[in-house]
Symmetry: C2
């Protein structure tokens, strides 16, 4: 177990941080992740099955778009929408709760050819935040919209709007209630209880994310990421998912990237843009660049997480320093690969 002390404060406590990367898969047109998953000891056969089935349907939805002549952007959006709709992933329906008892969603999308991008943060009524992000990119003059302004924009654009309660699920509610109970106990024991800040999640499933990267027949890359954020996050906290350069980046000269993990570290290290930069300016492969950033820079700093990388030649790699990563990819001819741990 590793404890990182900065300014005398325990920023993050980690167990089981590893150093891993899959072998490169060639001819990939769509790669996805569904967050760094759960500790092996918490995995059940039912959950394993549910996750793999969810990843498979997301891959198939994106692949269908590409087969029909859609763009990489279409594939990314379609794959992420499937995962947003599935409660097993921490994005859209099934998002974790904030410390204010709300579900606040973030997403971003970017295309590698034009470097156009769009993002939403802290939305509470947009059924599919990834489509909201795409609307910001294509229909507004802005890149990032937050809060009520973002919700209003999505409504004005005719996107599907839901009641905030749509996102809440029983297991996520139970998770936040357990944390609140522990916090109450802790407060009783402290004289300076007022200054206590929300407890950070201990389970990996409490700061999941979903993401996708795609390469289309025109040779254009795209990337997207969507999340409910971190369980018990302070209301208003934004992680890396809606931040272009942190959770998401796409550049036709290098790769499309989507990240998941402890978002604060991914912002500080500008992880997705750092991988692109090492590919462009150090001449590294996606595998070498993501290994350096995830398994050296982030690991040394104590930042747990993962990145999926699809380069302009269709080579797909994943790097993760967590025990596992829900992930999958599909090749042009429809061959699917899905993994959770090192396997």
């Amino acid at each position: 177990m590793l404890r990182i002390l900065i300014s005398g404060m325990v920023l993050f406590t980690m167990t089981n941080m590893i150093q891993a990367a899959d072998q490169v898969v060639a001819d990939v047109v769509l790669g996805i992740h569904g967050g760094i998953g759960v500790d092996k000891k918490e995995m059940t056969p039912e959950l394993d099955k549910e996750v793999r089935a969810g990843l498979k349907s997301a891959l198939e939805a994106g692949h269908a778009k590409l087969k029909a002549g859609g763009s990489s952007l279409d594939a990314v959006e379609a794959a992420i929408r499937v995962m947003e709709d599935l409660p097993v992933f921490n994005a859209g329906k099934g998002a974790v709760f904030t410390n204010a008892g709300t579900n606040e969603l973030d997403a971003s999308i970017m295309e590698g050819k034009t470097k156009k991008a769009g993002a939403m943060a802290g939305v509470m009524t947009v059924k599919n935040p990834i489509s909201g992000a795409r609307a910001v990119m294509e229909k507004s003059k802005h890149v990032l919209l937050i809060g009520k302004g973002a919700d209003s924009f999505a409504k004005q654009q005719g996107l599907e709007i839901v009641d905030p309660s749509y996102f809440a699920t029983e297991p996520r509610r139970k998770a936040i209630e357990e944390i609140w109970k522990r916090e109450e106990e802790a407060k009783k024991k402290r004289s300076d209880a007022e200054s206590l800040q929300p407890e950070l999640p201990k389970k990996k499933s409490e700061y999941g994310t979903v993401g996708a990267v795609s390469l289309d027949g025109m040779g254009n890359l795209a990337a997207g990421t969507s999340t409910g954020g971190m369980t018990n996050k302070m209301a208003g906290r934004v992680g890396d998912s809606p931040i272009i350069g942190a959770g998401t980046y796409a550049d036709n000269d290098a790769a499309a990237i989507s990240c998941t993990g402890h978002g604060e570290f991914f912002i500080r290290y500008a992880v997705s843009h750092e991988i692109v930069s090492q590919m462009k300016y150090k001449g590294l492969s996606g595998a070498a660049a993501s290994d350096d950033v995830i398994n050296k820079q982030l690991k040394n700093a104590g930042g747990e997480g993962a990145a999926i990388v699809l380069d302009r030649a269709g080579k797909f790699v994943t790097a993760y320093n967590s025990e596992g990563l829900y992930r999958g990819c599909i090749t042009k001819d429809g061959t699917v690969q899905i993994k959770i741990y090192e396997e």
Copy 2:
């Protein structure tokens, strides 16, 4: 005049885009900017004097911190606080108005040694958003807080809270009212008036920013940026100023950077992190890297703006593709240099 067409929509209309950089200044301990200023034809002797005096007091406030043994972070915060308090700059008091008639403020700060960072976006009651950003960095487990959650956190941390009306000034109100009047006229002439989006500002002064970069006696770099955003921005729109890697970045292995300009482009090109990356991985100087990003990449994309860069050896450079840039620097021995246009 250059018009950029993407998806059939005029994203930005520019006049007077130039390509400029000052000569490198050595032994700098603090560099600042106050936004890309105003067109020469709008400049008056009074405004010129007010801007130069404001920049000078900001430099002196930061320098005093360093002389007293303060850190580069202290100097950055002190210099930016001065500019936030001066209505002539678009940050803190004197911030521009959103299309909802509110003043919504963004800021970020980062230190190069630890790569710790903090940011706030869309706050409406924090008198000095740069101090709010520093509190997020030092007192929370998060990097970016937005909206009401950010305002509450600042209050809880004992920062100075003001009524939202504190930020409003007569000239900024006049500017937004003129835009609204034009929008009303435009709506009358359109059948699809409902779908009209807020007009983008035409004057440079309507999307200003302030920022600072510093190097202290311990060899540590820091950078910070603060803004009221873009006049008539859609409520909820966030630009590059609070985005680590876009408007602000600091890395002791390369440089501290603060940017200003048309924020959407700075996010898409991850400008501050891109400059750091070119310095680290291509071995470029701060001057060469910022020239490539501001005067080639951004200029080609139609993104108007500027970056100030202070490297770990104390070399200070500015690159801007706008007609001017309010800027200044101070050396260890207290020598001050202040400029507005190419001079």
